[in-house]
Structure formats: structure tokens, C-alpha cells
């Protein structure tokens, strides 16, 4: 039996690569979508060589929402699973003073990914099957001084996924929200992250695969984050506003 294809939006990122490997190891064809797709050739070749599955690359820019239809139409078919790993942290201080920069962070983390998943959601709904995976962030659970521009966009994305799940629950389409916590990736390189709270991209890949199989709704990659975020969410605002986090 051939397994359904997995489309990864943001296939160049460390987490995207790890998710691609996890699904390819299970025999799924994988389609990597990113900007400058030619540069993904080594990853594509690796996936085919290692896992003997079909791997393809596609040019994709999450901010080019007007080209979205064309992108989806040019795919070899409608995938079984679509994963959005797209994200862009930006620089909080720059985002505070430069509205263009802030808009770029908001569009990359919310508007772009939401538009892309909305399109696949409609097509999945029409087909009556499919899985949508959105990699959001714990930063979206509560705004903090150090990254609230990024966090607010992720909050929007998380709410979008939640609504999508609600809408499609009875239509055969499953929606999974992933809140990875700290992950050792290019985005966090150079940051001093606590080891016990930091996942490797490979852990995220395995966790997403497991969660898709077991139809989970919302997952943290490291279970300890469930506790951490419960505490952070429950600190009264009057106290929270005075804290340095």
C-alpha cells in the first residue's frame, strides 16, 4: 500500500527537515516547499537515498499569498498531510520601532501560514480527508516584553488552528497544533537555552509523527512545557506585568 504524501511548508528549516525524515522513514513520499527550492536538492537526495521514498522540492514563498493557488495547483496532487513549519522571529527591538519589520514578522508567522493552511483546509474538506499540522509557539500563549511581536503573531496562528480544528472536526480533516518550546535550531543559535527545556529538531519530528498517527489536537514536544506554560498562563496580570521573563 502506498502511503500519502506529506507536504512541508518551510522544508529548509531544521524542524522541517526533521519532520520530513520522520515521515519518510515511515514510507511517506515527502514534498519540500521553500524559497530557493534548488538549494534543497541535497536534502531531497538524502531522503530518497535513505528511505527509498519519492521526495520532491517546490518553490514556495509564504508571503506571496497571491501565488498560493498556483503553487497548490502545480503540486503532483493533493497531499495527505500538510505541515507548516514557516516562522520568522525577527528582532523584537527593531519590530518595536519599525512597523515594516513588525509587519514582516506578523505576516510570516500568522497571515502567510494561515492563508496557506486555509487553502489546503478547503481542499481537504472537499475531499473529506487530510491532516493539517501547524507549528506554532509557546510564545503565543502569553505576550512577553522580549518577544511579543513574534508571540502575538503566533497567538493568532494558534487561535486560527483551533478554529480550523473546530470547523473541520466533523469533516474528516484533523488539525494538529504543535507548541515546541525551545528547539535547538538556526533560529535559536547563540541563545543560552536551558538544556532540560530544549528539544532537538529530531525530537520534534518524531513527536509530530506520533501525534498525527494518534490524532492529538495540541502537543508540546517536551512534556515539561505543559507545566511551565500552565504556570506562566496563570500568573495574575498585575504581577506578570512587573516580571522580567
Amino acid at each position: 500500500m502506498t502511503k500519502g504524501a506529506v507536504l512541508i511548508l518551510g522544508g529548509r528549516s531544521d524542524i522541517g527537515r526533521a519532520i520530513a525524515r520522520a515521515f519518510a522513514a515511515e514510507g511517506h513520499p515527502v514534498w519540500l516547499a521553500a524559497r530557493n527550492a534548488d538549494g534543497l536538492e541535497p536534502d531531497r537526495a538524502d531522503l530518497e537515498l535513505r528511505y527509498r521514498v519519492e521526495a520532491k522540492c517546490f518553490e514556495f514563498d509564504v508571503l506571496a499569498t497571491h501565488r498560493l493557488e498556483g503553487f497548490a495547483d502545480a503540486l503532483p496532487g493533493l497531499p495527505e498531510v500538510v505541515v507548516s513549519v514557516v516562522g520568522y522571529m525577527g528582532d523584537q527591538q527593531v519590530s518595536e520601532t519599525d512597523p515594516e519589520a513588525a509587519a514582516r514578522v506578523m505576516r510570516s508567522n500568522f497571515e502567510g501560514p494561515a492563508a496557506a493552511l486555509a487553502l489546503f483546509a478547503n481542499r481537504f474538506e472537499a475531499r473529506g480527508s487530510g491532516v493539517i499540522v501547524g507549528i506554532s509557539s509557546v510564545a503565543g500563549e502569553r505576550g512577553r516584553a522580549t518577544n511579543y511581536v513574534y508571540g502575538s503573531a503566533k497567538a493568532g496562528f494558534t487561535a486560527f488552528l483551533s478554529g480550523l480544528r473546530n470547523r473541520l472536526a466533523k469533516k474528516g480533516v484533523h488539525v494538529l497544533t504543535v507548541l515546541p518550546g525551545f528547539v535547538a535550531t538556526a533560529m535559536t543559535e547563540g541563545m543560552d537555552l536551558p538544556e532540560k527545556l530544549t528539544a532537538q529538531p529530531e525530537e520534534v519530528g518524531r513527536a509530530v509523527l506520533r501525534a498525527v498517527k494518534s490524532k492529538r489536537n495540541v502537543i508540546y514536544v517536551k512534556p515539561v512545557w505543559c507545566l511551565v506554560m500552565a504556570v506562566i498562563r496563570n500568573i495574575p496580570e498585575a504581577i506578570f506585568k512587573g516580571m522580567k521573563l
Binding site: D14, P42, D43, A45, D46, L49, R50, Y51, A184, A186, E189
Partner: protein
């Protein structure tokens, strides 16, 4: 970032980068004092540099495989475990493998690792067709055996001090199954063990566990383990349908560092005694899966923690054939007198080795490990002196503590290596905590 070697004794605050492109690697090299780090499985300080450790973990893609010749081209950060996972089901196995599968391909080149088949097949380098190496100027060169400046030879076993290894082309060997026919032979003394190695020179794999605490006539008593890849026809009928499938092993994890007193003369003696008794009882032939045969310790995740927080040091030397018996006897005498046995003492016959700077030489090698404390340091220094006296040399992938004086006396090739590094600008561009300690 605090990093250490596998022995855990060389913990150091290092600046670690994780480049994702060749341009990023070149930029790191331009800053000087760079050393590539693969899986971090060298026991000492070989893969760390306080100023500029270049973690090659993101260069982890396999590039091509030729099913006619068995040539696999892979990036330096690819793990051997991934190679096995991808290619054993297709009937291919690494031609040379060290005692753990959690090493990187780049690390296997840098240490020019050896396995249980060294006496027949040589080290990993014998199966390497080419190495893509980034030099001090950021330029990438494809090194092959015939290079005029011998950079291929200097890179095999060169501990990453000739540049950053980006890609390696190496051959795998065809196998018919994932199983090994193992034969155990009990040897009551060092002389018997060596005679058994010589009598079984035709075996594909051979290695001996040696009881390093036995004294007197029993000194050097060993369990010699021979191995052959089982053909499909040699498997029991129920396994023939899936010759590469092996039962999943139960994985154990060492959850925390054992307290210092857990490993002492008494527990080590008891372990060695039991292990030998078990070996005697189980002597004979058996069928063992590849994972248990080649990588027994990989089943215990974090086994290095049984030595406690202070970690452990490895000692591995090789003697030429002519002085091997005298050298090994002198080492074993010293160890049993000190009463500081090692859990995992391993004896192995090395075959011929023609290479520029690699560790193996035709003769015998002994590998030991000791938890680190003051008495061990003194013992190791005595072992160094014995090795020097009998014309032996040391394995840099295991070393965490040698002095430059000892290394240079043991290995005349090092002077040439140092001169070559000075002459070609490698000395400024590439250095590790180990190379600084050893003045390489």
C-alpha cells in the same frame, strides 16, 4: 557552551557553532583555532576548542550510493547508525566499524578508526576512496590516495587538524544477513590468548576481553571472540525470510552519574571474575545479531555515567609484534599490582597498516578504562612509561591526558606532522584542546 569528550573528564566552556552551509564553515575557519566536532565520541579533548568548536551535526545528508561497488558518499556529520539503518536492509554493512555506532563519518576518518577485523582488513581508511576537505583558506579539495602532498594520508588519523572534513566516499561490504556466527574460545593466560589470535588469523572478526586483575599463571586470561557474517543459508529456518531483521534490543539507560564508590577494586574484581566464569560456561558457537555483537555498550544509553560525575579515562596503546608479549605482560603486571582493574579491557591483534599518521601498527593493542582519580593518574603515567620502553604508541581518540613529551617519544611521525602543519598554515587555522595540550 559546556562540552566534553565521551569520557566526561574534559568538560570545558567552548564557543560552539552549528554551520549549515559551506560558506558558514569557511567563515568559522577564517577565525582560527577551529576544530570540527562530530558525534562527540572521542573520549578526551580531541573535538573541542575553547575559541572555535565547529559542530558538523547539520551536515548529515547521504549523497549517493553505488550498488555495484558499495561506495557511499555521505556528509561528515552522518552517523554510522544511520548508515546501518539505511543500508543493512539492502545487504550492506560498514567495512570497518568501531565499538559504537554513534560515531560520525567525519570522526571515523579523523581517528582512522579500527574494528574487530583490523588484522584482515586494516583500518577504516583502507575503505575510504576520497575525502572532501576544507582547508585554511576555505577552499574545498577532494583528497585521494595518490595526492602529491599526502594530505589524504595526513587527514586519516589526523584528528581533524588538517581541515574540516565535509564529505567522505567510502565502501560498504556486502552481507547476506544481519547475524554473526560467534565462536568463543577460553584462553587461560596471555600466551594462550596470543596463540589463539595467531591460530585464528583467518577469522573475519576477532577480539578478546581480558581479565586485567588475574595474577600469576592466570595473568592475561581471556575470552577470545571470533565472528563471521552468517550467510542466509546459515540462519535457522524461521529467520531466513527476513535475514536482516533482528529482534529489538531492550535499551537500558543510566539515569544519573553513579556515586564515586560504586566502582572500586572489589566491584571491578567481582565483575571480571563473573565475566570470565560466564565466558567459560558459554564457550562455543552461537548466532548473535549485529547490534549485540558489534555494539554491546550502545544498548546501555549513557553508559559513560557509571563512572560517576568525574568521568573516566581510557588508555589504549599498540605494540609491534616483536615486543607485544613483553609489553602486554608488563602492563598487566602493573595494573594487577595496583589493583585498579578496568571493566572493559580489550585485547586485539592488529594486522599490517601502511598509513601516514594512523594509530594501528602490526602487533597487539590493549584498551582499558579507569574512573578518574589521583591514583589512576599515577598508574597511567607508569603505563605510559612501560609502553614507551617496549616501543608502543598511543591512540589519540582515547587520549585525554598525555604529555607532548610522551607522545613525541612514542611516535616519531608526530615531528613531521607538526612541521607539515606549520609549513602549510594549518597550525593557526586548526587546533583543538588536545592539539594544544600535545603541542601538535
Amino acid at each position: 557552551m559546556r562540552i566534553a569528550g565521551w569520557g566526561g573528564t574534559t568538560r570545558q566552556d567552548c564557543r560552539v557553532s552549528h554551520p549549515r552551509s559551506e560558506a558558514e564553515v569557511a567563515a568559522r575557519i577564517a577565525e582560527g583555532h577551529a576544530i570540527a566536532r562530530g558525534a562527540g565520541r572521542a573520549y578526551g579533548d580531541a573535538a573541542q576548542s575553547a575559541l572555535n568548536t565547529v559542530d558538523m551535526g547539520r551536515f548529515d545528508r547521504m549523497i549517493s550510493f553505488d550498488a555495484e561497488t558499495g561506495l557511499l558518499v555521505a556528509e561528515a556529520g552522518v552517523r554510522l547508525a544511520d548508515v546501518i539503518a539505511a543500508f543493512l536492509p539492502r545487504g550492506w554493512f560498514p567495512a570497518v566499524t568501531p565499538g559504537t555506532k554513534h560515531v560520525s563519518v567525519g570522526g571515523m576518518v579523523a581517528a582512522d578508526v579500527h574494528g574487530k577485523n583490523h588484522h584482515r582488513d586494516g583500518s577504516f581508511g583502507a575503505f575510504v576512496e576520497f575525502i572532501d576537505l576544507m582547508g585554511p583558506d576555505g577552499a574545498v579539495r577532494r583528497l585521494t590516495r595518490g595526492d602529491n602532498d599526502e594530505m589524504f594520508g595526513w587527514t586519516l588519523g589526523g584528528m581533524g587538524l588538517t581541515g574540516v572534513i565535509l564529505r567522505v566516499g567510502f565502501r560498504l561490504r556486502p552481507v547476506e544477513s544481519g547475524w554473526i556466527r560467534q565462536k568463543s574460545i577460553v584462553a587461560g593466560s596471555l600466551a594462550e590468548a596470543m596463540a589463539a589470535f595467531e591460530a585464528n588469523a583467518g577469522a573475519t572478526y576477532s577480539v578478546a576481553w581480558i581479565d586485567c586483575l588475574a595474577r600469576g599463571v592466570a595473568m592475561g586470561r581471556s575470552i577470545l571472540m571470533l565472528g563471521e557474517h552468517a550467510s542466509a543459508a546459515e540462519l535457522p529456518a524461521e529467520r531466513r525470510a527476513a535475514p536482516f531483521g533482528v529482534p529489538a534490543r531492550r535499551r537500558l539507560t543510566v539515569p544519573f552519574h553513579a556515586p564515586g564508590f560504586a566502582l572500586n577494586g572489589l566491584t571491578v574484581r567481582a565483575f571480571n571474575h563473573l565475566y570470565y566464569a560466564q565466558g567459560v560456561k558459554k564457550a562455543g558457537e552461537s548466532l548473535v545479531d549485529w547490534d549485540s555483537y558489534f555494539y554491546p555498550l550502545d544498548a546501555i544509553h549513557g553508559w559513560n555515567k557509571i563512572y560517576g560525575r568525574r568521568g573516566f579515562v581510557q588508555f589504549q596503546c599498540a605494540f609491534p609484534l616483536a615486543t607485544a608479549e613483553a609489553g602486554l605482560a608488563a602492563l598487566l603486571t602493573e595494573i594487577s599490582r595496583a589493583g585498579q582493574g578496568s571493566f572493559l579491557a580489550v585485547l586485539k591483534r592488529f594486522g599490517p597498516q601502511a598509513s601516514r599518521i594512523s594509530f594501528p601498527m602490526e602487533g597487539y593493542t590493549l584498551a582499558l578504562d579507569f574512573p578518574l582519580h589521583a591514583r589512576t593518574t599515577a598508574l597511567l603515567e607508569r603505563l605510559d612509561r612501560i609502553t614507551l620502553a617496549e616501543g608502543g604508541r598511543f591512540y589519540l581518540a582515547k587520549d585525554a591526558r598525555m604529555t607532548p613529551h610522551t607522545l613525541r617519544k612514542a611516535d616519531k611521525r608526530m615531528a613531521e606532522f607538526i612541521a607539515m602543519r606549520e609549513r602549510t598554515g594549518l597550525a593557526e587555522a586548526f587546533s583543538s584542546t588536545q592539539s594544544e595540550r600535545l603541542a601538535l
